[in-house]
């Protein structure tokens, strides 16, 4: 029907063949009216194609139809579709094309799919990576942390090897340990957890001194240690064996592996890691009592991801730790037949899931996550302690204990990227339930803590040279704890909300010089911390920490300011950082030790009357060429109570010990790290740690004295030689000596009545290490 009408219409039109044979001319130009050459113009549903000449001019000789659709494309411009009605058109047609910037900005924000050089952040972030793990021949995380300014790892117990990290001189509980930015370290975990994390699972450790960001927890007063596990891209694998001989006497053997597999389209991937470590105990002074704990540890873990689309990612991680440690004497006997034994059999499982979603334009990002950790621990803290009476042996055989610990974190975080600024907000819920029981001492800890934190942070860049981070968090904390020991009962029942503002600025004074400044407020609720889960022995008696009565929450204000200077002198690249910090503590928790009573020594947690911790960190990096790098840093600080603080209550008042200085905190400490890549295959690393003089409490016969501990220089040397067998397969042979000048504490106590806490300085004497690494690595 229709066809007939058309035919009729064209017949009626007769000779006028306007529709059928019109030429069409046109011009292509851009916004600034410049002609676009080599543009392609196509007529839809036909075979007519033409292109524009150097003047942007194009022409079709004959066009059929009343209405045509033109497709215009040109390199560097957005394609355009234009409908043209032939009867109304004025030839030549003027067509303007919009330039195409290829949407580069969007691509760049997608964050996960390209490598970028680490950008300057408003807070000073120090990164410890695999290079340093290798250079220091570390198998566990605790061994590498010393190589950052303001960070010091110390061993606190000869029997069980309890170690803690001090940031800017403040004890372990003042800093927050995060795994992949999540607080999954529970109160119990952080006692020995630092030894349990194998370096093979770690991509890098980010250390932030002073809690500068609202994203970090409120207890991150001294700072945060963020362990970032490997997020694989390439298909790699490696197996490593590390063997050390401590002081020529005790072996420490570790085998670890890690492997990663990622599909070519990056949609799925997995990493697996594992470690087995077996360390013999070490006795420094030949008294039959250990100075370094016997340790057997097996860790296995995996991290798997799946991307249903380019905008979504689901990550699941899982790990298990099984650890046995024992220290004291006669390590092959049953614990209760020995003089001192601290034995811990820990089994822990951690699992977590994360979901990340980006919006189409990559401007919004939403993450939701949850992590659970369950730890079961069989403990023995006790022994005959030099006694031989029936009461001694009854107590010894009842010193077996059991601990159950569950920690849970769940939360979500939202990020919005403005053109220059970034807004972040989130909520996080945490739960920790700790049950600890040792029948023989009538000791129980029954503690539940819940926390609901919400935070918001705005990264504001008003000028190109100024970047600020303004944020705040509000935490609602609930602690319900019942603590009892030898007939004494204590409670902590707290519900309160705290507001913690945080502010950080970064200002580029010149191209080479930057200033950073920050303020952070934080708090610690009265509850059992890591050291409270640990029992030590002094003079044959067990030492317990007990929460005091009517404890108040501890508050702190922390200020930091730093200048960093980066400059290249010819080929020599240098950077330098000078940082000042000042932390003011109110109602700070102090453990006051009382003298022995009924075979027990009680350390009661009390509120102090304020303290100040201040000083400066210095860091220098020099890289004269690509094969030689040198780093050194150090800290000079003062840690003082505002008033004389009682730390030991003696039998008589004259034996009380008061101090204004913090104990076990040196005023000066530092590190250095130099790497020499002599050839492509041979690498030499020389690293060292300096621990300054400090005062260390020592108890003998119920009398505490504050001893002046000497300073130590610990130097380590490592040589590594890589044999590239094939493009995808290398073998590395390495060897070295740690603490080569054997700077080690000389005055350990002897025998069953020793003060097990009297330990300071480097954590191991001269140790020879050698090993082999095979795999596909970079």
């Amino acid at each position: 029907m229709l066809k007939q009408y058309t035919l009729l219409a064209s017949l009626l039109a007769g000779t006028s063949t306007i529709y059928a044979q019109t030429p069409l001319e046109g011009h292509l130009f851009n916004r600034s009216r410049e002609p676009i050459p080599s543009g392609t113009v196509t007529i839809k549903n036909s075979k007519s194609v033409t292109s524009s000449d150097t003047a942007g001019h194009f022409k079709f000789n004959a066009i059929t139809g009343a209405k045509i659709t033109l497709n215009i494309s040109a390199v560097g411009y957005r394609s355009l579709t234009k409908v043209i009605a032939m009867d109304t058109i004025k030839s030549p047609v003027q067509i303007q094309l919009e330039e195409d910037n290829l949407n580069l900005d969007e691509v760049v924000v997608s964050a996960t799919r390209y490598g970028v050089k680490r950008k300057d952040a408003p807070v000073v972030v120090n990164v410890i990576g695999p290079k340093l793990f290798n250079a220091t021949q570390s198998v566990a995380m605790s061994e590498t942390l010393n190589y950052q300014p303001g960070v010091r790892v110390e061993n606190n117990c000869q029997n069980c090897g309890f170690s803690q990290v001090r940031l800017n001189g403040l004890e372990g509980p003042y800093s927050q340990i995060l795994i992949n930015s999540r607080a999954v370290f529970s109160a119990l975990n952080s006692v020995y957890g630092l030894d349990q994390i194998p370096t093979s699972m770690i991509d890098r450790i980010e250390v932030v001194r002073s809690g500068g960001s609202a994203l970090f927890g409120a207890n991150a007063i001294a700072g945060t240690i963020n362990i970032i596990t490997k997020d694989p891209v390439e298909n790699d694998w490696q197996v490593k064996s590390t063997n050390s001989l401590i002081d020529g006497k005790s072996w420490d053997n570790t085998v670890d592996f890690n492997t990663s597999l990622v599909a070519e389209d990056l949609k799925t991937g997995a990493t697996f890691y594992g470690m087995h470590r077996n360390r013999q105990s070490y006795d420094a002074n030949g008294d039959g009592f250990s100075e370094i704990t016997k340790l057997r540890n097996t860790t296995f873990g995996t991290k798997v991801f799946y991307k249903p689309s380019d905008l979504d990612k689901i990550t699941v991680d899982f790990s298990t730790v099984n650890e046995f440690r024992r220290g004291g004497d006669q390590l092959d006997k049953v614990p209760h037949l020995t003089q001192i034994t601290e034995q811990l059999q820990t089994s822990s499982v951690v699992g977590g899931i994360t979901y990340d979603h980006y919006s189409e334009d990559y401007k919004h990002k939403l993450s939701a996550y949850g992590s659970v950790q369950k730890t079961v621990r069989d403990s023995y803290y006790g022994g005959l302690g030099g006694g031989s009476t029936l009461a001694d042996s009854t107590l010894a055989s009842n010193a077996y204990g059991k601990t159950d610990d569950i920690a849970l974190v769940a939360g979500s975080q939202y990020t919005y990227n403005f053109e220059r600024d970034v807004f972040t907000a989130g909520v996080e819920f945490s739960y920790n339930d700790t049950q600890d029981e040792i029948a023989g001492y009538n000791r129980t800890i029954d503690q539940r803590s819940k926390g609901l934190g919400s935070y918001a942070q705005y990264e504001w860049k008003p000028f190109a040279t100024l970047k600020t981070l303004i944020g705040a968090r509000y935490d609602y904390t609930y602690v319900d704890g019942k603590y009892s020991l030898a007939g004494i009962n204590r409670n902590s029942d707290q519900r309160f909300g705290t507001f913690s503002p945080r502010l950080t600025i970064l200002y580029d004074i010149s191209k080479d010089l930057q200033f950073r400044g920050g303020y952070a407020r934080g708090f610690r609720a009265p509850q059992a911390f890591n050291e409270d889960m640990h029992v030590t022995s002094i003079g044959g008696n067990q030492v317990f920490v007990l929460i005091g009565e009517n404890l108040k929450t501890e508050y702190s204000n922390a200020y930091t300011g730093s200048f960093s200077y980066n400059k290249n002198f010819g080929n020599v690249q240098t950077s330098m950082l000078v940082e000042g910090f000042y932390t003011d503590l109110n109602n700070q928790f102090v453990n006051v030790m009382a003298s022995e009573k009924d075979g027990l020594i009680i350390q009661e947690m009390q509120n102090g009357e304020g303290a100040r911790v201040y000083g400066s960190n210095i860091e220098i990096n020099v890289a004269p060429s690509s094969w030689l790098t040198f780093q050194a840093g150090g800290t000079v600080q003062r840690s003082r109570y505002k008033r004389e603080q009682l730390i030991y209550e003696g039998k008589t008042e004259s034996q009380d010990i008061w101090t204004k200085k913090y104990v076990r905190t040196p005023n000066i400490y530092g590190y250095m790290n130099s790497n020499l890549k002599a050839t492509k295959r041979l690498a030499v690393d020389l690293t060292g740690v300096y621990t300054g003089k400090m005062i260390v409490p020592h108890i003998q016969d119920d009398i505490m004295t504050l001893k002046d501990a000497r300073d130590f220089v610990e130097l380590n040397l490592r040589l590594g030689y890589t044999l590239p067998i094939h493009k995808h397969f290398s073998i590395e042979i390495f060897g070295g000596v740690q603490n080569m000048f054997n700077a080690f504490q000389k005055d350990f106590d002897k025998g069953p009545l020793r003060d097990s806490d009297y330990i300071y300085g480097p954590t191991r004497p001269r140790t020879y290490t050698f090993g082999l690494r095979v795999g596909h690595f970079h």
């Binding site: 560097g76 691509v107 390209y114 080929n571």
Partner: protein, 155 residues
């Protein structure tokens, strides 16, 4: 039995590289060669800018640029050029000499040619450029491309 295992392991180790022998690879050309090739027989050019430390770049080289269909497509229709953004080499291209003022290779210290090519863009890697026969920019991607995405990019 034991020796048999050891023996076969050794044999595999020795001959493993041969497994990759004969497999077709991308025929990467230098900038200098590109200059003369374009003068004689113009083709489209694929430029791949990478760095040593960029794991996504390594993955592309190992797993995407080795796919048979990608290799044959690039080798038959394109000139493929690789540029290490932190290279310290002297490069002669387009009637100019591009030479860094320093000798040592260093992270974040970019070659002048890389700076020129990425001018006004973010210094992220890998960066892939597709130029037409007259060496005008036709397409650009600054991220990891899997074989499907690279195929679309070269479409």
């Amino acid at each position: 039995m034991k020796y048999k295992w050891k023996g076969s392991f050794l044999l595999i180790m020795l001959f493993y590289p041969l497994l990759h022998f004969g497999q077709e690879r991308i025929n990467w050309v230098s900038f200098e060669q590109l200059d003369s090739l374009m003068a004689v027989a113009p083709r489209e050019t694929l430029l791949f800018i990478h760095t040593d430390w960029c794991s996504y770049c390594r993955k592309m080289e190992q797993e995407v640029f080795t796919k048979a269909e990608i290799v044959s497509r690039i080798n038959s229709l394109y000139y493929a050029v690789k540029l290490d953004a932190e290279s310290t080499q002297r490069i002669t291209f387009d009637q100019s000499i591009w030479k860094p003022a320093w000798n040592g290779k260093r992270k974040g210290q970019y070659h002048p040619l890389a700076l020129q090519l990425l001018h006004g863009r973010k210094m992220v890697f890998p960066s892939l450029f597709r130029f037409d026969r007259d060496f005008r920019l036709k397409n650009l991607q600054q991220k990891y491309l899997n074989s499907k995405q690279l195929n679309d990019f070269l479409e």
